[in-house]
Symmetry: C2
């Protein structure tokens, strides 16, 4: 995606701060632990570079928000990297839980060093996230640091609750829609809401503006996930670079599928019989559309996107950062990948 100059500057600052935090605890007698973290962060090992690092969207959201409140974005760097480290801790543990051999095109930590070391590497990053956040005291003050820690840890609680639901339903072919919303709230929306709330907090905004930013991040997260569900079935394979049908084949519990299951029609009957084969995909995708699953999901996406944009408007973004934040939002919510 095209990146504006201010975002470029922020991304460089994020990478430097991340590197500093992760490197600080490096010592000769446990250097191997550092190397796992540096590998996962995309700084060491094979195929390093931007792709191995991920987009760092969450910390960018934190900084853009602080900037968009009219605040000095550099003061929010500790919160930004804390959020990115929390995201990465959860990815490392997620990969073990899902038995995923690849992350960002490279072998996962558990695949290279075993599950025991991977669990521990995730724990180490989690702890670094907290240590990173405490540096807010130097750029802001003690009260803000404690409020920030509360916001971040509440998001972590929701993360584990969402993850609990995801794992608990793993062996089942369905899940009710209520649990779906709880799951994606925990797995995606809670941390994005924390990003924008933290950014606003460090910007010393008024309470109603901070609330608007929280609501913006929350709905941005939900909308992003629902769009992801749509693209996982109806995305253009030429654009996504993966089979458009993969979510149906992997049996992932996405909103269109769960909607169709709640209707208990022909799609549900086939789904409950077990794994879908590639040759069944075209007919099943049509069937999902006939049963209204695509329209339902599209409506939810539109509705939530509207809420996100309304909240962003209420937040009264300012300056170059505000413009970049608006652009990033549009890109995230219209992405085809």
């Amino acid at each position: 995606m095209p990146i504006q100059p201010i975002a470029e500057t922020m991304l460089t600052a994020i990478e430097n701060e991340l590197l500093e935090i992760v490197t600080r605890t490096r010592e000769p007698d446990h250097d191997g632990l550092y190397r796992m973290l540096a590998y996962h962060m995309g700084w060491e090992g094979e195929d390093i570079g931007p792709n191995a690092r991920g987009k760092r969207i969450r910390p960018l959201l934190v900084l853009l928000t602080t900037g968009a409140t009219g605040g000095e974005w550099k003061r929010a760097l500790p919160a930004a990297v804390a959020v990115e480290l929390i995201h990465n801790f959860s990815l490392i543990h997620d990969d073990i839980q899902d038995n995923s051999p690849l992350r960002r095109g490279r072998p996962t930590i558990w695949k290279l060093w075993g599950s025991a070391q991977a669990i521990n590497a995730g724990d180490a990053i989690y702890s670094l996230a907290q240590l990173a956040l405490l540096r807010l005291e130097g750029t802001s003050n003690a009260e803000i640091t404690i409020q920030a820690s509360q916001i971040l840890q509440n998001a972590c609680q929701k993360l584990t609750q969402g993850q609990y639901l995801d794992i608990a339903y793993e062996l089942q072919r369905g899940m009710n829609l209520e649990s779906y919303w709880s799951m994606i709230e925990g797995k995606t929306a809670a941390l994005l809401a924390a990003c924008t709330e933290l950014g606003a907090l460090v910007g010393f905004t008024e309470a109603h503006i901070q609330k608007a930013y929280h609501s913006f991040g929350y709905h941005l997260g939900l909308a992003f996930q629902v769009r992801d569900d749509l693209l996982g079935i109806w995305g253009d394979s030429l654009i996504t670079g993966k089979s458009t049908q993969s979510d149906l084949i992997s049996g992932k519990k996405t909103l269109p599928v769960l909607y169709a299951l709640s209707k208990n029609g022909p799609f549900a009957k086939r789904w409950e019989q077990g794994a879908i084969t590639p040759d069944e995909i075209p007919a099943l995708v049509t069937q999902l559309e006939v049963e209204g699953a695509r329209a339902f999901t599209q409506e939810r996406a539109t509705e939530i996107t509207r809420k996100a944009l309304k909240a962003l408007q209420a937040a009264e973004v300012k300056g170059e950062a505000g413009e970049a934040l608006t652009n990033l939002t549009e890109e995230l919510l219209t992405r085809q990948v």
Copy 2:
């Protein structure tokens, strides 16, 4: 062990605060997550009770320390339960990493719910530990809360470093003595040092007293571990209720064994050939003693214990809590179990 009235009162307060923290996040749609945590904490499921809960020695150390500085121990409750939650998070992950089916005589979380849920349950407790600690702001102030968070997270970093070494050397039959000290510093001493330092911090003691308490907890942890290593080989099986030889059979890297390996004598030659069988134990235990491993370990234990007691003296403990802290120390460092 005999418990003094003040310690009894503290243990009740600890249990109530723990229960409140863990129950706060309980909600119907992810009740199963709460039940795993409540099971692990010894409040739910089969065989609940004091044995299932563990001794809660770490939070007790925090509160006794605050009391022994002349401070109001109740104000340290958030720090005390935070430490106990960190300890329990590490146990849950440790059990997965070690593939241990039992903890405190009951099936481990991963054994009952699978590794994926167990990793997540540990993460949830880790996050609760941070949320618990933040309540210090209400009983103390913002500055103390941030310092406490720093102390706790530094200990967590060391915990993951010690765990890294433990896992890294798992498949090897040996480890140099330097790595041994790094490992037990991380796995045992760092958290005990955090306990007494946190207790002193909340007691608003002078810097040199806080430093003495840190040193006390640190050496208490090391001494406890080295004694544990001795008891794992020379402990009276009638008292320990387990085979005295188990550490030799399990291949655990204890101080007497690592000392003998560094001597590269007959014991080392046998050890390097693979697993020890029960019938070899009597001769090997004698061999260890002949090679000076028992005397070496005993000397280290005595030396570190002396440092712990000297630090305790420098801390100038006061009142009933001070007396209870001294008694607890003696019990921990002369225990036969």
